[in-house]
Amino acid sequence: MPLASISSIHPLDWMILGVGFGFFLAWAIYLNTKTRSVADYLVSGRKVRMWLGMGAGIGGEIGLISIAAMCEQGYRNGFSFVIGNLISTPIMLVLFGVYGFGIERFRATRCMSVPQYVEMRFTSKLRILIGIINCIAGVLQMCIFPIGGAIFVRRLIGAPDTFMTLGMNIPTDWGLMLILLICPLIFTTLGGYTTLIVTNFFQGILVMATMTWLFVHVVIQSAPEATSGFVPGLQAMWSGLEQNLKLAGVNPFANSPDAYGIQFFLFLNVMTILLQFSYGPYLQQYASMDKPRTVSRSYLLGAIFGFGRSLIIFGLGVAALAAMGKAMPDTVIGVSATEWTSYATPYFLAKLGIPVVLMGFLLLALLFADVAVTDKYILSWSTSIVNDCIQPFRKSPLEPKAHIRAVRITVLAICIVLFLFGLIYKPGMTIWSFMWLTANLIGGSGIVVLLGMYWRGAKTPGAYACIAICVIAPLADIATRQVLARSGQTLPWTPEQTGLYTYLAGAVAMIVVSLLSGEKSKYWDLGAVVREQNRATA
């Protein structure tokens, strides 16, 4: 069966894409007229209630790059991630969903970013340092979004590697990347976080419906030729998973090189906890909610019911594995073994064929999945750059219009950086590994915030010690691996172990140095503020 090609996309599909784009754009233009203050632009005026916040939160986590990463993981590891998630979900639910551990307190500070809280609790110099570190790591992490998404879409629609324009042969990825950056730029500029909340809400519903439809289509098509229907297709898919990955496809701790392993999940859980207090995009979302309790309630319901959405997307990768096996087909040329795992699912979907109308909705969903996540992340890091890295150096605060303009200019500058990165990017590791590696650098500020909110003994010198360890150790790990790799050697431990023990060392350093410091603590009881704010808005 030939691959689908961009020219074979039906006019009806283009129409669906155009009408859908118009719908989202109309919302953005309308909401822009309602944005009157910096708080409206950056945190929706703190008026987002539970269902809208949760819907937008779920939507904001299903980006084009996340879809590509989940398909990749489904193809590589099957559904074994499910068990790991079942183990960690109860811990996270109780911590954040029931007790609102840390996240309710952060909302109660009325801060827009982590560094803003750091200045209130510690010093303005530490705010600037953490702001710079987090922004560099956050933007670096985002660099993969447009190019990774462009590669996924090109493979899905079977577009050629290059196209001719102005007499030059231009890589198609660059053209797609440009579209995937211009769209978020439009939506971020119009209405800021208010637009983001509303478009992410509708986008989340759209992605969920489209991915479910696509999954059902894929399962039905997976049925053996002699049979037809959903159940035979499901049977073929599940048996294919069992045959290809054996126990590693359903058990993450199986004794197999294909399994995740226990260290991976330990690291993942520690980092997930720390990122709740340090990752700009999460905290900006918490800051936009109307009261502290809304933050924990939306986390609770989102975690219980949002898991299935990831599994549907994982399922597309599993279906690709079941149908094609682990080995790269001989017909695929110019793709390395590392790239193949991310190429497999879009290649499989293109080979299978996507019916008219579904293709239109799929393109719309993928485009706005990109807009949703890029918007959320880019606005968060731009806010942090302006508020935490520029504003503290000014003698007087920016006027509201100038403040919003500064954020918009920063958004544009980041888009240019992302585009330039995409021009030189060559896939060398899985998308997930790249994203976790960069997130690792941000996790250290989570320890500082956490201890700052709950321990009155936390002091500025301790925070500096913690940040230094959490930045230097992972960078030293990466550098050492690069040097050793030249002679074919590697470190006797994994990058996940480095991350895990770095956090432990950072926490210990912060406690010990804080105990030795004579600085006067600026601790204040956020628990009482949480209770007061919850009562006031009850």
Binding site: L52, S80, Y523
Partner: protein, 75 residues
């Protein structure tokens, strides 16, 4: 065979357990999506209405506010 799917017996309980976890999670999520959509529309109306009603606060722009001295001195 458990339900309508036949599993590889050599994988023990891992395979059926994972399968049913996936199925139940997906069904719950699909039902929940409808609830989120309805609740979200109600909240969206509230957001639009309250943005019109409340006066903007020019000082709420990300600058660090000093902790009330009474609070800070208490510890």
């Amino acid at each position: 065979m458990i339900g309508f799917i036949e599993f590889d017996p050599s994988l023990g309980y891992w395979s059926p357990f994972t399968f049913w976890t996936v199925v139940i999670s997906v069904v719950l999520t699909l039902g929940f999506t409808v609830v989120v959509f309805i609740g979200g529309i109600v909240d969206l109306r509230y957001l639009l209405k309250s943005m019109d009603e409340e006066a903007p606060d020019a000082s709420d722009d990300g600058r660090a506010v000093a902790v009330p001295p009474a609070e800070a001195d208490r510890h």
